[in-house]
């Protein structure tokens, strides 16, 4: 059998599928010789460190956005727009908080995402539960300099997660398969 050539698109046809080896346009970017002392990873980490002075303001802005989204839900109830904004603002904090230097805030935001995403009827989500999550994120960010913040944040988010899971288990009690997937551990270690 002929070998695939990186300069030509090659297709192997099987009974129910084709395997295609595309023209490799990126192999020319593989570096054969590296200049001593040139480390792109170190350069990028230094660039990120230089940017980090802005992270605190960014995190505050993300918290403000979450606050506004919560207020919109309280004012207008859940509709497509208010749901999306609340979910996305919580989801962004879940993903970005650690990068911004506030890793402890991510767990509370993640718990809120779970409540919103897995409630069969979001109108049944207690506003008090949303308040507790939003206020927890804000408090963890605000008190981040406290020496005992890790202990406080862990206790707070553990309780939030427990209350949220109890709510989700009850709301999804008629969907055992869904519930099983919901309670399965994530693929990413430590999450």
């Amino acid at each position: 059998m002929a070998e695939a050539n990186s300069n030509r698109l090659m297709i192997r046809i099987f009974g129910d599928h084709e395997v295609i080896t595309p023209v490799n346009k990126l192999d020319k970017y593989v570096v054969k010789f590296v200049a001593p002392g040139d480390d792109p990873l170190t350069r990028a980490e230094a660039a990120l460190a230089a940017l980090s002075s802005e992270f605190s303001d960014w995190m505050t802005a993300e918290c403000d956005r979450l606050d506004s989204a919560r207020d919109a839900v309280k004012q207008h109830g859940f509709n497509e727009r208010t749901f999306d904004e609340l979910f996305h603002s919580a989801h962004d904090i879940k993903g970005d908080a650690a990068t911004f230097g506030f890793p402890l805030a991510a767990a509370a935001a993640e718990s809120l995402c779970r409540v919103l995403e897995h409630s069969p009827d979001t109108n049944r989500v207690p506003l008090e539960l949303i308040d507790q999550h939003v206020d927890a994120v804000r408090a963890i960010v605000r008190e981040t300099a406290r020496p005992d913040i890790a202990e406080i944040a862990t206790a707070l988010t553990s309780k939030l997660r427990q209350v949220s899971d109890d709510f989700l288990i009850h709301e999804n009690r008629h969907r055992p398969d869904y519930l099983e997937g919901l309670m399965a551990p994530p693929l990413v270690p430590g999450q």
């Binding site: 698109l9 090659m10 295609i20 020319k28 990028a44």
Partner: protein, 180 residues
């Protein structure tokens, strides 16, 4: 770890969060990239992909208009895309198994769960350049080979069928592909 010349790579970064776009751009510039095109939603991401024909796409999942999964599906259109084989790195806060599987089945090349670090992004980019995977086309899928390893003893329902029928070098079924 292998090294690549970032200076010549063109990226399109699609994320509705301006802060995260700035972080990704900062990292890419730090790696040595000069061409980083940003887009704030799926629609403008597709426009940037068509207009700039990047070497690599980095996209968020949750975005307005259409999301990163839909963007991936639009890019993975053989015969109807500027480069259906472009590596797509999905950068997302979603870590659930069903999300990873959905991204894989849409044709995402690499899945990177936030929080983002310089090293994790660097490793994904180097991997798609140094270790490109072949593509598979079936009635229901077009994208990078979803099998990361071969198991000749696998006999489950998802085993691919049929021995090799032909081996050809051509571009007929992918009209816009240029075998340069």
């Amino acid at each position: 770890m292998s090294r690549i010349d970032f200076n010549r790579l063109r990226f399109v970064v699609v994320d509705d969060n301006a802060h995260m776009r700035r972080i990704v751009r900062t990292l890419l510039h730090g790696f040595g990239s000069r061409e980083v095109i940003e887009a704030e939603d799926g629609a403008s991401g597709l426009e940037a992909f068509i207009g700039h024909v990047p070497d690599i796409v980095i996209t968020d999942w949750a975005m307005p208009i259409f999301d990163g999964i839909e963007l991936t599906q639009m890019i993975r259109q053989p015969g109807n895309s500027a480069n259906p084989f472009v590596p797509i790195i999905m950068l997302t806060g979603h870590s659930e198994k069903r999300r990873v599987v959905a991204a894989r089945d849409a044709g995402v090349t690499e899945f990177l769960v936030k929080p983002l670090s310089a090293r994790s992004l660097y490793e994904r980019i180097v991997n798609v350049v140094v270790n490109p995977r072949p593509f598979v086309r079936t009635k229901t899928y077009f994208g990078p080979d979803r099998r990361r390893s071969l198991n000749p003893n696998y006999s489950g329902p998802e085993r691919r069928r049929g021995g090799i029928a032909d081996f050809i070098a051509q571009q007929a079924i992918f009209a816009p592909a240029k075998a340069d």
